[in-house]
Symmetry: D3
Subunit: 161 residues, 6 copies
C-alpha cells in the first residue's frame, strides 16, 4: 500500500519537505453547494439586487480563507497565492447555491487545498447568514474540479471532462 | 418574506447586535463525511494503529478551527468556547470517514457555526493528508445535528430524532 | 503631568490590569473619510448598483478588523464584541467617502479602539480597491465620535453634540 | 470610465490574478499623523527618555501590522516583505506625531497597502496608549508618499517632489 | 494512574468541557531566562538607555503572545485576559536575562499557559534580536511560579515560597 | 561593540531590510526538553500506544507555530517554509521529553527562529496537556543545534559536533 508522505519515521505528522520540487505555475478549481429551501434561495436572489447581498460576503470570506489555508490545515505549506476568485449560481430542483473557486500561484506545491478551503468558507458563510431562516441547510458535495502544474501532472474530475 | 438580520439599513452586512440577548449555556453538534476509496479507508484505519494517524491531525485541526470560527466567518460573533470535541468513524458501503463535532459555550449567541466549522476543517485536513493517494475524495454532506440553548429554542435534525 | 497607565514600574508597556472594573454595556462610534477624485467617487457610486461594490468589501473588512483589534493594537484587551456595524456616505465638495462605525460590547473596557480600527480597515480597503485609478487618495480625519459605558463616563465629540 | 480590476464577471470582488506580472524589487513609503494636545505631546516626548515609550510600542505595532496586511485587507495579495521600518517626529503648531513608514519586497505586486497599514496601526496604537489623557486626538491625513518598482512605474506624491 | 482530561473516549485530543466550572479571578506568574554572553548582556543593558531597546520589543511580543495563547496551544481555552505584564532583570554569574510574567483573568480556566507563553515569546524575541551577535544563547528554565483562583486551589513553586 | 541590526537611526526596532541577500536553501534544527515526573513520563509513553497521544498534539502545535513564527516574533521576516518536522524521545535520569525540530526553506533569511519556535510551542503543549498531573514541569534548555545556508555560513552547536 502506498504510504502517506505526511508522516515521519516516528509515525507522526510532518509538513513534507518540498525543497527541490519545481517552481511552476499552479492552478486549482473546486466546487461545492449549499442546499437551501426555496424561500432562502429567493431571499439570496433578491438580495443580490437590493436587500443585502449574502453572496458578496461569502465571496470575501472565501477569498480571505484561501489566503489563510495554511494556518488552518496543519500540514499545508504556506503559499503566496497570486489569484483567488469565486463564482456562485443559484439553481433549482433542488434549490441550492452552487459555488466555484479558482486559485492560482507560482509555487512548489499545488493549491488544491486553497481552492477547497475557499469553497468551504463561502458555504459556511452562506449558512451563517441564512440560518435565521433555515437550520437544515446542507453543505456539500465539496470536491476538486481541476488542478494544473507540478510534477504529478494535471488532474481533471470526471464531471469536468 | 422574512428578513435576514445580517444586513443594516443600507442593505450592507453587519454583525448583528446581540446586546441584551440572554446568556445561556449553548451546545451544538454537527456532522459531515469524506467519501474515500477503499484503499484510503484502509490506510486511515491502519494509521490509527501504527503508521501515522490522519485522524489525530484532523482532530486538532477541527478543534483549532472551531476556536477561530469568528475570524473566518465574517458576521460570526467572537465566542469563548468552553468545550470542543470531535469523533470519527470509518464506514463502508460506501467507504467514508464520518465526522461529528460537539461544541459548548456560555454565551449570547449559538455555536452552530463553530460546530460546522470544526467538521469542515477536519474534513479538509483528511483530504489534505490523503490527497497523494486519491484526488476525487468528496466532502459532505455537512449539516447541523442539534443545538440547545438560547431564545429560539432547541433544534434537532430529523436524522437525530 | 498625568501618567499613562500603559506602563509598568520599569517604564515598559503592559496591558493594564482591569480586574475589578465594572462590567457594563459599552458602545463607541468613530468616523473617518477617504478623499477621492470625482472619477473614483462616481465609480464607487455606480458600483453599488451593478459593477462591483467596493463598499460591500470595505464593510466586511471593517467588521472583521474590529473583531481582531486586540491582535493588532498591542495593549488592547481582548473583547468579545456583541455588535459591529458600518455605514458609508458618498459626499462632494470635496469628493470623499465618509465612513462611520458603531461597536457594542458588554465588558470591562471600552470599545473605542475597535470602532477606530473598523473605520481604518474600511478606509484602507477602499484605498486598495481604487488605487489602480488614483494613488493620491487621502485617509482621515479618523476620530472618535461617541462612547458610552464605563466609569469614566460618556464622551461625545464636539461635532456630535 | 476605467474599470476596477478587483471585480469579476459577476460584479463580485476577487483577488486579481497577478500571474505573469514581473517580479521586481518594490518599495513604498507612506505617512500620517496623530493630532494631539500639548500635554500628550509632552508626555510622549518625555516617555522616549524615561517613563515609558509610547512610540516604541507603536513601532512594533506598525511593523507587525504591515506583515499581516493581506489578512486585513480582503483583496491584498500575500507578500513576504523583506523590510519594514517606521520613524516618528514630534511636531508643534499644531501639536502632532508625524509617522512615516518604509516597506520593501521582491514581488509581483506593490507594497503600498503594507506601507499605509503600518502607518494606520502605529497611529491607532498611539491613540490607544494616550486615550486616558485625551479622547479627541485625530488620525490623518494618511497617504502614500512614494512607490517604486513594477510595470505601472514609480509614483511620488507632490509633497515629496 | 491518573488520566489526562485532554482526551476523549476515542483516545483523541479534545478541548475539555469546562462548563459549570466556577468563574473566579485567576492569576498566574511564570519565569524564564535567556543565557547570553557578557557582550550581549552589555549590549542589551546599554540599549535600554540609548541604542535600541531589545527588551521593549520583547515586552510587546510577550504581551501579544499571551493574548493569542489559545491560538497556539491546541487544547487551550480562549480567554479574555484582563491584564498582562512582564518584567526583566539583567543578571551576571552567569550572564542572563531573567524574565517574569504576570497574567490575570476572570474566567473558568486558569491562565498558567498564558503566563508561560508570554515568557516563551519574550525569550524567543530576545534570541531573535541578538542572534547576529551570538548563536548559542540558551532559553530556559521556563516554569510556573504561582497561580491563584479556581477549584484546584493556589499553587506556589518551591522557589517562590 | 558590534551593533544590532534590528534598530534604526532613531534607536527603534525595525524589520531589517534583507533585499539583495542571496536566496539560498536554509535549514535549521533546534532542541529543547520538558522535565517531567516519572508518572507523567509513563503516562506520555503509554499514551503513544493507546490512551491519547500527547506528543501527536505537540507535533501539530509545533509545526503550526513554526509557520506562524513571523506573526509572533516582531522582527522576524515572513517566510514560506518548505518543510517542518519534529521528533520526540522519552528519557530518564532525569525524566524528560526531549524535543527536536528541523525546518527548511528557500529564502533570504535563516530559519533559526522557526526551529526554536517549533520546539517552544511543542514544549508548551506538553505542559498544557499534562498540567493536571504536575505543575512544576520545567521547559528548557531550548537552543539552536545547527543551521545551514546563507552568507554567514553554517553553524553547529558544540554538542552536535
Amino acid at each position: 500500500m502506498s504510504d502517506l508522505t505526511h508522516f515521519n519515521g516516528q509515525g507522526r505528522s510532518r509538513m513534507v519537505d518540498v525543497t527541490g520540487k519545481e517552481l511552476t505555475h499552479r492552478t486549482a478549481s473546486a466546487a461545492g453547494a449549499v442546499a437551501v429551501s426555496a424561500e432562502v434561495l429567493e431571499r439570496i436572489r433578491s438580495g443580490t439586487v437590493k436587500k443585502g447581498d449574502v453572496l458578496a460576503v461569502a465571496q470575501v470570506a472565501g477569498i480571505m480563507a484561501a489566503k489563510r489555508c495554511w494556518e488552518l490545515i496543519p500540514m499545508c505549506h504556506p503559499l503566496s497565492l497570486t489569484g483567488v476568485d469565486l463564482s456562485f449560481s443559484l439553481e433549482e430542483d433542488p434549490c441550492r447555491v452552487e459555488i466555484r473557486s479558482h486559485v492560482s500561484c507560482d509555487g512548489v506545491t499545488g493549491v488544491e487545498m486553497e481552492a477547497l478551503t475557499a469553497v468551504s468558507a463561502a458555504a459556511l458563510t452562506i449558512y451563517d447568514m441564512c440560518k435565521a431562516m433555515q437550520k437544515d441547510m446542507v453543505i456539500g458535495p465539496i470536491r476538486l474540479l481541476r488542478k494544473t502544474g507540478g510534477k504529478s501532472g494535471d488532474y481533471c474530475a470526471r464531471e469536468e471532462e
